[in-house]
């Protein structure tokens, strides 16, 4: 789960990390008022759950009230990578003389939290990683020890020579690690972290992502979620134990397991078809899940055929078959269905399906080719 820059900085503030003076605004009028209060110059920044705001024209410096108004006017309502800008952050201009990058994330290889720091702040860190990977210093944090003062110092000396700044940085890095733990974050990032003209470390920007698996114990974080329309559908699916991602093809897919779902999409594409979605009905399925899944697939008007590919493990094929029969009884389904069942209780599942005169196929290749043929009819 992602939150906005201003929300990340609110969390930073709570841990006494210095951030810019700023106000969230939903209209040009509010931007004018905020600018009057904060004083010129200000920076007007789009608040959307997408990276690359600057490049998209979503961040503008305003030296006059006229410029602030124009910035608000052009940014509010703008589309950035499919996200509509509904609010902007108006931040007081800050004078600074150097920019840095600091971030924490999960490192799969060391199975630990990793701290990243770079003197090349203010640019997209992915680009630094590509062009100049040596400019990013990485430190694995031992979960038993946490962010010790000596480790924080080691990192700080990579960025600063002035010991007054090193001392501030040690405090900041320890707080950032604490925030990461306290909120079950998956990413905490300050880019850029700046040294102001009066020698203070300040978070000019902030970014936080969270571990979806831990939201159950982070109610305050979960409350900040702002899903888009597509994401709402995905969340509704998730609540029923399904993972749904809408794509733009014509073949509705219902599969159990993420890997098999991806492989099914790959095979459809291989034979020249286009999947309408990724839909993983997960394990331990009950008939109700299948009904919910059918409803989801049928709500997408692009879907011309439904391909069901189940390999039973923890999912029982007879459960899927029962759910499917109930679903078909309850709803009007006027598009063809291609079914493949194997694994746990497959015989029973196939018996139920055949009793209702629904066609089944034996292999994934066969299922994909049949689905493509029917979609093109």
């Amino acid at each position: 789960m992602k939150i906005h820059e201003y929300q990340s900085k609110e969390i930073f503030s709570r841990y006494s990390i210095l951030v810019t003076n700023e106000t969230v605004c939903y209209s040009t009028e509010e931007v004018v008022k905020a600018t009057e209060e904060l004083g010129l110059p200000v920076v007007v920044k789009a608040q959307v759950h997408a990276g690359g705001r600057g490049k998209a024209g979503g961040v503008k410096l305003a030296r006059t009230m006229e410029e602030a108004k124009n910035a608000a006017h052009s940014i509010l309502g703008m589309d950035i990578k499919g996200y509509k800008v509904e609010k902007v952050l108006v931040a007081q201009g800050v004078k600074f003389n150097s920019e840095f990058y600091v971030g924490l994330t999960i490192d799969r290889n060391s199975k630990s939290v990793i701290f990243m720091a770079s003197s090349e702040g203010g640019v997209e860190i992915e680009e630094v990683a590509k062009d100049n990977p040596d400019a990013i210093h990485k430190f694995v944090i031992d979960p038993d020890l946490g962010m010790t003062a000596f480790l924080a110092r080691k990192i700080a000396f990579k960025l600063f020579t002035d010991f007054a700044l090193v001392k501030q940085a040690v405090d900041l890095f320890q707080k950032l690690y604490q925030i990461f733990l306290d909120t079950d974050a998956s990413l905490v990032e300050i880019n850029p972290l700046v040294v102001t003209d009066d020698g203070k470390l300040l978070a000019l920007d902030g970014k936080m992502n969270f571990d979806d698996n831990a939201l159950f114990r982070q109610p305050k974080i979960a409350a900040l979620d702002e899903p888009t329309e597509d994401e709402k559908k995905e969340i509704a699916a998730k609540e029923s134990g399904l993972t749904y991602i809408r794509l733009d093809g014509t073949i509705g897919c219902m599969v159990n397991g993420a890997g098999l779902a991806m492989a099914s999409m790959d095979v459809i594409k291989y034979f020249g078809g286009n999947p309408a979605n990724f839909l993983d009905i997960g394990g331990s399925s009950n008939p109700q899940k299948v009904i919910t899944a059918m409803n989801l697939l049928l709500s997408d008007k692009n879907v011309k055929v439904i391909m069901i590919n189940i390999f039973g493990g923890i999912t029982r094929c007879d459960d899927v078959a029962k759910g499917l029969i109930i679903a078909l009884d309850q709803m009007k389904v006027d598009i063809p269905i291609v079914i493949r069942l194997s694994g746990t209780n497959a015989e029973e599942g196939l018996r139920i399906i055949s009793e209702h005169n629904l066609p089944t196929v034996n292999s994934l290749s066969e299922a994909a080719q049949e689905a493509i043929r029917l979609a093109n009819n």
């Binding site: 199975k111 698996n213 890997g259 994934l364």
Partner: protein
């Protein structure tokens, strides 16, 4: 021979009285897995399908000598269950639970490393040594004893791959589902080495998917350490960028972790990669033939 488990493995089930725990315990037992105990706090003293249930892992280990534990408890409790198993002296922990918080796994994997306990998962289907022991939720009918060692990040995709192998007459030494989470227990490198050292295994199949760089690192490891033939498959060749495909680990971020990169990494070191699941058996047969 096989890796990790065999007919002598003594299995303990944590969460044996739950819906999934009880269902799959019966399946494991029916397959011949030596299930010696269950744990369910507050239900100690009961019998479940003839298996004694204990309140703590420590009690169960003392009473039965269990050396391997499989975990079916709800995700919020799974991290603690893993720690409990390790602390009680279990050698191998298999965590089936899906949706375990990442920081819980950071804590657990770190502790287990210090204790020398092996972990598979979380969010995995378990493992099987065909004809001897199945510890997990795998549909046993598709497996057959043989000499293919298989490891996979996916559950159901593994079943499809295994059934294709079995139907082509290619049996398996041990099949391991390592799980799809970003922080997990045993991974490709450790398992590659185990299969390399296992006399029964003659060819290794690695089933990966998009996200992260574990496959690229596995390719590097194969180049440096593995002499047996390896065949691979990567799911998610057509997955869109920035979308999380079910597994927390399966996400392509800003052009890295793509299937194309992973396939290229394997092919660069001479590991053939099946483009579709159905191509796998022939590639395995060819790898075996070329070796001889």
């Amino acid at each position: 021979m096989s890796i990790l488990i065999n007919k002598n493995t003594k299995v303990l089930v944590q969460g044996i009285t739950g819906r999934d725990g009880s269902f799959h315990t019966s399946k494991m037992k029916a397959y011949g897995t030596n299930v010696v105990a269950g744990v369910s706090p507050g239900k100690g003293g009961q019998l479940m399908d003839g298996i004694p249930v204990y309140n703590t892992v420590e009690d169960a280990v003392k009473a039965t000598g269990a050396d391997t534990s499989i975990i079916f408890v709800p995700a919020p409790l799974a991290g603690d269950a893993i720690l409990e198993a390790s602390e009680a002296g279990i050698d191998l922990v298999i965590c089936i639970s899906e949706g375990v918080p990442t920081l819980d796994m950071v804590k657990a994997t770190n502790y287990l490393k210090k204790k020398g306990t092996k972990l598979i998962g979380a969010n995995c289907p378990g493992l099987i040594t065909p004809g001897e022991s199945m510890i997990g939720i795998l549909p046993v009918d598709i497996f057959k004893k043989g000499n293919v060692g298989l490891m996979s990040r996916s559950g159901t995709l593994t079943y499809l791959m295994v059934s294709l192998l079995t139907n082509s007459g290619l049996g398996q030494s041990t099949c391991v589902g390592i799980g799809g989470d970003p922080v997990a227990g045993l991974y490709y490198q450790e398992l590659l080495q185990m299969f390399e050292d296992d006399p029964q295994t003659e060819v290794i199949v690695l089933i990966g998917e998009i996200g992260g760089d574990a496959e690229e690192r596995a390719a590097q490891y194969i180049k440096e350490h593995i002499t047996k033939p390896v065949v691979a498959f990567i799911a998610g060749q057509t997955a869109p960028v920035g979308k999380r495909m079910g597994h927390a680990g399966a996400i392509i971020s800003s052009g890295s972790g793509t299937a194309a990169e992973k396939i290229a990494a394997f092919e660069a070191i001479g590991v053939p990669v099946a483009r579709r699941p159905v191509e796998l058996p022939d590639l395995v047969k060819k790898a075996l033939a070329d070796r001889k």
